[in-house]
Amino acid sequence: QQPVQSPQAVILREGEDAVINCSSSKALYSVHWYRQKHGEAPVFLMILLKGGEQKGHDKISASFNEKKQQSSLYLTASQLSYSGTYFCGTEGVFGNTGKLIFGQGTTLQVKP
């Protein structure tokens, strides 16, 4: 069963913040976040393992609430290069197999 992402689309001005959510009805081992530009492959952003950790690099961070089976991706002070479609990919509780079930994606557009 695929995770559900919200919102479906976001339009921001440069410098604004955004939050993208990923929710699963099943227990999760890990959540992976990817960004995809039009016509390109998904690019890995970060992985969160069960344990409720929060990760981040630069101005992009994410959290994973294992009990709620939810993850959120935080984009702060957005840049034009952040535009693209963001996918969360989830691994079930017997995870660490690398098999990811992806959400439907959230399209982010950053305008000058």
Binding site: Q2, Y34, A41, V43, F44, T97, G98, K99, Q104
Partner: protein, 112 residues
């Protein structure tokens, strides 16, 4: 960024024809995956391949699909009799020890 190389980048084929998509890892990995992305939609898991055997496959991966590693290096996805609905981007991915899946640049398959 570590990647796998996929060939061809674009393949146009007639309905009913067989196609072979290739994935060349940059180093000797054991875990490989094929994913599919129909235009404008989410990334979908097709099959995982571990130690030269299929370890898991999705409902999409029916008898028309097969995977193999014929020479111990290249990793191939074969579609025996293509249908119009097979038109999509096909991504090969490999699993790092960290649990992160890195995607190749993809092959765009167009069935006419």
């Amino acid at each position: 960024e570590p990647e796998v190389t996929q060939t061809p980048s674009h393949q146009v084929t007639q309905m009913g024809q067989e196609v072979i998509l290739r994935c060349v890892p940059i180093s000797n990995h054991l875990y490989f995956y094929w994913y599919r992305q129909i235009l404008g939609q989410k990334v979908e898991f097709l099959v995982s391949f571990y130690n030269n055997e299929i370890s898991e496959k999705s409902e999409i991966f029916d008898d028309q699909f097969s995977v193999e590693r014929p020479d111990g290096s290249n990793f191939t996805l074969k579609i025996r009799s293509t249908k119009l609905e097979d038109s999509a981007m096909y991504f090969c991915a490999r699993l790092e020890q960290t649990g992160v899946a890195f995607f190749g640049q993809g092959t765009r398959l167009t069935v006419v």
